[in-house]
Symmetry: C3
Subunit: 348 residues, 3 copies
């Protein structure tokens, strides 16, 4: 296990040391679990009391504080800690195996240098796999599909025909790219399938969660923008365009042809209706159901979703609806009483 | 690429030509993207202004309008356009490979003529695969299961034992048919598994989305009716019976033993509780949570779901709950003032 | 088919016979479908009228009732019926095939006695598979992962590296264990992946539904406690700890680092936010969105979720919001009228 001094790590992340710069750490841990020889971090002020009693050797903090451990003070402790964790532990060691004899590669497909194809991989005609890309067992790459460089597709990922995967894309097990959406025209009670002649395009540096699904377009491409990260079981409809650097938490779904800007955050189980325009830097709270366009920078919540602070206020009143109704009944009684009394007083 | 005249296409769909019947088109596109040499369509009146400025050579419309392109006028433009798109582009060209030497077929299984089994397909004992059906890499067909004619099961589709798949069924990658539902009886804090002795039955012409799941029945069959189309990641519980020609958008879930009639539409992320009766021609808006029976023809929305127009009205008032509470507080103040004043006036 | 007398079955489950103890049954069925020669049960008092007209030969009931069939009277009819069903039908007969020549087992991996590896199974370096465990086609077991004894992993289940699966664990097709969660630190608009250095741990006697996903931990393990049963497409976030004997219905999602106690029930499509503490014996109604800690024994409903009876009352008032608003408008009119009249009466 690699060992680093607090001073070395501070230099890596551009932070200031408070305390023992020569102290050594070899691994990272949570505030709660960190033991001597480990480094931890404080990102949420709520947990500040835990810093004061930490057993860790070092802690990354946003500002110097009372604390038994050596501190690395830096503006974005979570990002600094991420970099330290990558240095100490590294990312997953993906398995490079060369070209397995049990991989099935069509003679017209092309493989870049240093490609790894595990057992039972299928690469169909005219498909292209870029330099250094690793396809785990059971991965299926359809005809004409291009996968860029340094990608990793975990077991059983399926990419249908004529799709485009950029560089450094990571796709977790069981995810599916480029299948058809629910595109049907209904005539006399029967649903007729509309051909899906457009592609699914996954840009560079995207990560896609396990068992997620990105439908191909019917008439125009589905696009997941550069650097966007999609969680487990996310479902993206046909023709959806997601901008760069978005985050979509698990089980979120977006219906067909909706456009989403860049740097948006969709918390878990969000649903977005089809044919909408969602701006840039939009935040959508968990389980919200979006049925209208959202302008840049807005934060929304609820089903149907609306502006966050109003939605939170409405939700708080909702919980007290029984009391509100009671107040209204009381008012009715009091008004009736007033009416009765005023009726009884003849005008003078 | 195939080329057709507007006149030929109008004849195909039974429409009337307005403009140049001899103009040629070779592909379809959206109103927004269509270029010369392409045909497009208008299905939603909202987009009518785009028709007037389209660059397309032809457009399918519900009625003749001011427009630079040749028009095909027909009652159901989306259906007509679907047929034209099928003519010009065709559906996906599924890969016929015969019987791969890496497919594993049990000696007691039976394969119809023209079956294609890709590499790593498993067909277990007593399973039957009908004429012309294509099983993509990694498909697993359990013991005793019957798959009909002209089906396509994309990579890694799993069908458990003793299930029944009709003819012309299309199942997208990663979908699972016939696994157990969450059937347990609880005794002294421990959950005991109840055997799932019934089947999952998928009738003719059904399409099932990527990573969807159709549980087998515990005591009576789960059934997906003829012509129904289920989106990505839909989850159907054990013993559910879905009627013919239903549409279920992505991530919808239906709990055990519920019956759904024919021609129902469930928008995305709908949840339906167990043991319910949902009528025919029912429409359920996205993200709704259905906890009660629904009669034929009803449209519902909300959690719990109720009649659509009332639910929309309630949702609109919900958004204004803060103002409503303010109004009530104001009323309380005014009533208190009235009470005070009336108290001060001694009855004469 | 096995045949048992009502008396034998009553002895098995410790119940009392009312009626013909010598009557024979060979299979189980629902109250609605049961025919002569079959046994059925009554668990929900709502269906009691069906007992009086059942065609079944025997019925398991909570108390003796007017009924044409022989009765087995016992305190927990559903559990008793489950045991009878297991006796008469058994559970799925899992396919034991020894070690397929097409399974790929790393030389450093270890296999216990009586392990079955189907075709196209991958067992990576240092992985260990316990006695009697069955891995179906396409199962992938990552480096260093341990799978206990008598487990069954259905086709295409993927378990990433260094995870731990207990004994008698049943994992349905397409489920994924130990993939990364959505763990990123954001710096200058770019999302940086945080290593996921902890494991996913599945304790004994757990069942996991088709296409479900259990993310590995980033800094501390994700744990699914002994005897818990998770439905189809459930998504468990990184670092979540689920206690023993919980039930999670299909499509439920739990965000990162939340702790859930034992014997909790989460109905379908529930969402639970991250970093929460959910007590023991908690019940969460379908589609609820939990955003706060929940104490032991509480039952909640709604988004945001709160105490069940209050939430049901609030939901009932919500449906009548249009009438409530009408009442308020009427009150405003009446109060204005009173104010006008009282103004008109000069104080004497």
């Amino acid at each position: 296990m690699i060992q680093k001094t607090v001073g070395e790590l501070a230099a890596l992340v551009g932070g200031q040391v408070v305390g023992d710069a020569e102290a050594c750490v070899g691994s990272g841990a949570t505030l709660e679990l960190a033991r001597p020889g480990q480094i931890t971090f404080l990102a949420n002020a709520r947990y500040a009391p835990l810093v004061r009693q930490t057993r860790a050797t070092a802690v990354v903090v946003p500002e110097a504080m009372e604390c038994p451990a050596a501190q690395i003070v830096t503006g974005n402790p979570y990002y600094a800690f991420t970099r330290i964790l990558v240095l100490l532990h590294g990312h997953r060691h993906y398995l490079r195996v060369g070209i397995s004899p049990e991989a099935r590669v069509h003679p017209t497909a092309s493989l870049g240098p240093d490609v790894s194809l595990h057992t039972n991989v299928t690469v169909c005609e005219e498909a292209r796999i870029g330099r250094g890309t690793i396809l785990y067992p059971g991965v299926f790459i359809g005809p004409g599909t291009e996968v860029g460089e340094d990608c990793v597709l975990l077991p059983h990922v399926v990419v249908y025909e004529n799709c485009q995967i950029g560089n450094r894309v990571l796709i977790h097990a069981g995810a599916c790219i480029g299948h058809d959406g629910l595109g049907f025209s209904t005539h006399q009670g029967t649903h007729h399938k509309i051909p899906h002649i457009a592609r699914a395009v996954i840009e560079d540096d995207v990560e896609i969660g396990a068992n997620a699904g990105i439908e191909r377009g019917s008439l125009h491409d589905t696009v997941i923008g550069t650097g966007s990260k999609l969680g487990s079981a996310v479902a993206i409809g046909h023709g959806v365009r997601v901008g760069a650097h978005c985050l979509m938490v698990a089980q979120t779904g977006v219906a067909g042809s909706t456009r989403i800007g860049h740097h948006c955050v969709m918390a878990g189980q969000v649903g977005i209706a089809g044919h909408l325009d969602i701006g840039n830097h939009v935040t959508i709270a968990a389980q919200s159901g979006v049925s209208q366009n959202i302008p840049d920078g807005e934060r929304v919540f609820g089903t149907p979703a609306f502006e966050m602070s109003k939605a939170v206020e409405a939700a708080a009143i909702y919980k007290r609806l029984p009391e509100l109704r009671q107040t209204i009944r009381e008012l009715e009684r009091r008004v009736a009483e007033l009416e009765k009394r005023i009726e009884q007083k003849p005008s003078q």
